[in-house]
């Protein structure tokens, strides 16, 4: 291929050309408009950055080829047959281009999100280094604020939410007996928007005035007044959010319209249920954070007055809109994990999931209740006082469906034939840690307790028990569980168990003591602290470093096993769900023939029970092809 052809076709050459062009365009646009209106100075760095932050990612997406097919379609050119050239990966290079294969996209998601998890983890190490002793160690207070803000934003928007999307992307079409997702090109676009958001957030460290330093919550009016770094968050979140909504929409359509014959809703594996309900949350709630960040952007860039109380704006409004997304977001970060745990526990305890239907209904109950509790984050905000008690009650009510799930897992384990594999260890670790995090959550729902520990390390302890001991443990469980399926190789079980035990012990030594210093009043989000907290903080920092190093075991295990681990069998866990009935890794289009579902997904211990059978579908299925 000639160089000119490389620049014209989709790919990195065109992307690397279009990005600087878009920067030049942004500069010209801003200077041009300012000249037109006669504003001074013509060259406004903040305005140019704002426009460029929107234009450059879009230019990259165009360049890399996310829109090529749609441009072709929109121009009304003759219909092309699908040649599946964007499908599958033969070499590692195929992971670096726009690929429409859900299995490739799933791995793209997982690897990308783990890159950001690693960066976020390194930031956490810096935070703990600064907090190892009272006083100033390495960073000034403003840099410290940037560290924890970027840490939290990466972990939430670039790791936990999208890594679940990655796992689900890989597994769900296989689980429901579909050859791919409903909208493969939209799927690719969703993936490629994600690194845009992550790069933006990391790049904010290079902005004049430092990284955004307002926490991941970016409360106004602080966020409308801090330096330029904030803009990187405000716009980056929009890309992460758009990616999230597009994937959720894709999951919903796939699950509704592409299930294999015989797979009724109550024969779906619980992972599918979990992602179905999560996707509903994403589609309904995520536009609210988009709205909140639009208002911040308008206030910052256009001088609007949403959060300027001197001109009729309302500051509390930010928190209402933000938390109307961000409380449901904690379930977006948890429900897919619930699904993973159901799969892992059932297969490793050799028993059907106890109370399958209640498990599905409790997911739905969490979706509904999740929208009624947002103001429990605002008990000390100065919001209308009458909202407090209703929010406390609804928050406590959520413990019921969550409790149903915990007890159903325990009942699944009861008298099971338990195999303590690495995924199972992480699942059991999850149940214990998440229960502790859930209990501190119910404590926080109680208004007086919440007022006492607001903005202390008790909050930090709670969030890490639910998000690390909860979500991240489920992510590890899921990755170890499906690693053989995704890579065709087995991971090292001994290293896996070591990873679990080191994580489990040092997780607790890191975050457990934070409850104590929190109740004693150590404030969060401050670079320094009183001398009385010095001993505990030294313990916490040392534990955190060992905890951080335990993650290297995981990375080493994953990388070396992927390269030369022993070949994995099609079904190493003897699980019943469909993804285990095909080879590891699965064939290019998942199935040669779509299987027919004849029973539930978890009939372990029932002699002769099968979930799906692979035979040529009955001619009945032909009736469905009508509209094509």
């Amino acid at each position: 291929m000639t160089f000119a052809a490389k620049l014209k076709g989709p790919g990195w050459y065109r992307a690397l050309l279009s990005v600087p062009l878009s920067l030049a365009f942004s500069t010209a646009l801003v200077v041009g408009v300012r000249a037109l209106y006669g504003w001074d100075p013509l060259f406004d760095g903040e305005a140019i950055t704002t426009v460029a932050l929107i234009a450059m990612p879009l230019a990259f997406l165009v360049g890399i080829g996310c829109f090529d097919y749609w441009f072709y379609w929109a121009a009304g050119k003759p219909t092309r047959d699908e040649d599946h050239s964007g499908h599958g990966a033969k070499t590692w290079k195929d992971y670096f281009r726009v690929n429409t294969d859900h299995k490739v996209i799933g791995i793209q998601y997982i690897v990308t999100t783990f890159v950001f998890f690693t960066i976020g983890g390194l930031l956490a190490m810096l935070i703990r280094a600064e907090l190892a002793a009272p006083g100033t160690q390495f960073v000034d207070p403003n840099t410290y604020n940037g560290l924890f803000s970027v840490h939290a934003s990466l972990m939430i928007f670039l790791f936990i939410i999208p890594v679940f999307a990655g796992i689900a992307n890989y597994v769900i079409p296989l689980m429901i007996g579909a050859p791919d997702m409903a909208f493969p090109r939209l799927n690719a676009l969703s993936y490629w928007m994600l690194p845009m958001a992550g790069i933006m957030m990391v790049a904010s460290f290079f902005a004049p005035g430092g990284a955004f330093a307002t926490g991941w919550t970016a409360y106004a009016p602080l966020s409308t007044e801090v330096p330029l770094g904030q803009q990187f968050f405000t716009i980056g979140v929009q890309f992460a959010g758009a990616s999230s909504i597009a994937t959720a929409l894709n999951f919903l359509v796939t699950i509704i319209t592409m299930r294999a014959p015989g797979m009724t809703f109550f024969r779906m594996p619980l992972l599918v249920w979990a992602n179905f309900t999560t996707s509903l949350l994403v589609v309904i709630a995520t536009p609210f954070i988009a709205g909140s960040q639009f208002f911040v952007l308008f206030d910052r860039a256009l001088g609007m007055n949403f959060f300027n109380s001197a001109n009729g704006g309302d500051v509390i409004m930010y928190q209402h809109i933000f938390w109307f997304y961000s409380h449901p977001a904690v379930y977006i970060m948890m429900l897919p994990g619930f699904g993973i745990i159901s799969e892992v526990i059932s297969a490793n305890a050799r028993k059907p999931v106890f109370g399958y239907r209640m498990m599905a209904f409790s997911l739905c109950a969490i979706v509904v209740l999740g929208f009624t509790v947002w103001a429990h984050h605002m008990f000390v905000s100065g919001m209308s006082a009458w909202l407090r008690v209703p929010m406390m009650i609804t928050t406590m009510l959520i413990a019921i469906p969550t409790g149903i799930k915990i007890f159903s897992w325990l009942a699944t384990l009861w008298r099971g034939v338990i195999h303590l594999t690495t995924p199972m260890l992480f699942a059991l670790g999850f149940i214990t840690m998440f229960t502790l995090g859930g209990i501190s959550g119910v404590m926080l729902a109680v208004i007086p307790v919440d007022i006492h520990v607001s903005d202390t390390y008790f909050i930090v302890a709670h969030i890490h028990y639910v998000l690390f001991g909860g979500s991240v443990f489920t992510i590890f469980a899921g990755l170890y569980f499906w690693f053989p399926k995704m890579t065709g190789r087995m991971y090292d079980e001994r290293l896996g168990r070591m990873h679990f035990w080191l994580s489990f012990v040092f997780f607790n030594l890191t975050f457990g003591p934070m409850h104590l210093v929190g109740v004693d009043g150590m404030p969060r989000r401050v670079a320094d602290y009183a001398a009385e907290f010095a001993t505990w903080n030294a313990v916490i920092s040392v534990s955190a470093f060992i905890f951080g190093m335990s993650y290297l075991l995981f990375l080493y295990n994953m990388i070396t096993s992927w390269r030369n681990g022993p070949k994995a069998a099609a079904n190493p866990w003897r699980a019943h769900t469909l993804e285990w009935q095909v080879s590891s890794p699965p064939p290019l289009f998942n199935f040669d023939e779509i299987p027919t579902i004849v029973g539930g997904p978890y009939e372990y211990g029932v002699p002769g029970a099968v979930h799906g059978v692979f035979k040529k579908p009955e001619p009945v299925a032909a009736a469905s092809g009508g509209k094509e």
Partner: protein, 203 residues
């Protein structure tokens, strides 16, 4: 819209994916558009929440004394947008009955009506006499009408695609999702305008 052109028939031993099972009577593309509209409604919901806080919770006068909203002009504009819902419906019906000229004229008229709406709105911004920065009421006025305007623009883009394709000979009596689905979106944009017009201009 996406899979609209994936050909499934006439391939003999085409090496491709197995035909997926259709587990719902709803078309994937239509369902996708409805879900997208749900999230769009929620985005408007966030903006209306801001409107509610600024107008009701803070309780300053509405419209603010510097804001003179051209209710009548915007009313005419509303009529223009609503009539474009009728023309897109006509275009779709024409496509279904194989009336190619009806399809083309209907799409063209819808596009022109939408563009007229947008032009009148931009003209309103230029001549309205208060900037978005003047106070919170002005901010939410520009934001809500601007958000809607952006949606008109997206809808128009889809309509231009559909019109281009119609003139290039696409769409048949059986296969007209490329008209139907932008049409669903266009109806949503119209209905949303009625809500915006009522809350901002009328009450």
């Amino acid at each position: 819209m996406e899979a609209a052109t994936i050909a499934h028939e006439g391939h003999g031993h085409h090496h491709g994916p197995p035909e997926p099972n259709r587990s719902s009577r709803v078309e994937a593309q239509t369902l996708g558009m409805y879900l997208f509209i749900i999230s769009e409604i929620m985005l408007f919901g966030a903006f209306f929440t801001a409107y509610f806080f600024i107008r009701v919770v803070i309780g300053d006068e509405w419209p603010a004394e510097n804001m003179h909203l051209p209710v009548a002009v915007a009313g005419v504009n509303t009529a223009i947008l609503i009539s474009s819902s009728a023309t897109i419906h006509w275009a779709l019906e024409s496509a279904k009955s194989g009336n190619r000229n009806g399809l083309k004229v209907g799409l063209l008229m819808t596009t022109l009506l939408g563009a007229t709406f947008l032009a009148i709105q931009i003209n309103e911004y230029v001549n309205i006499g208060f900037p978005p920065a003047s106070n919170a009421q002005a901010s939410i006025f520009y934001s809500l009408t601007g958000l809607h305007g952006a949606h008109v623009f997206i809808g128009l883009t889809l309509l231009v695609f559909a019109t281009t394709r119609a003139f290039k000979g696409h769409f048949t009596e059986k296969e007209h999702r490329g008209v139907e689905i932008p049409g669903i979106y266009w109806h949503f944009v119209d209905v949303m305008w009625i809500v915006v017009y009522t809350t901002i201009y009328v009450i």
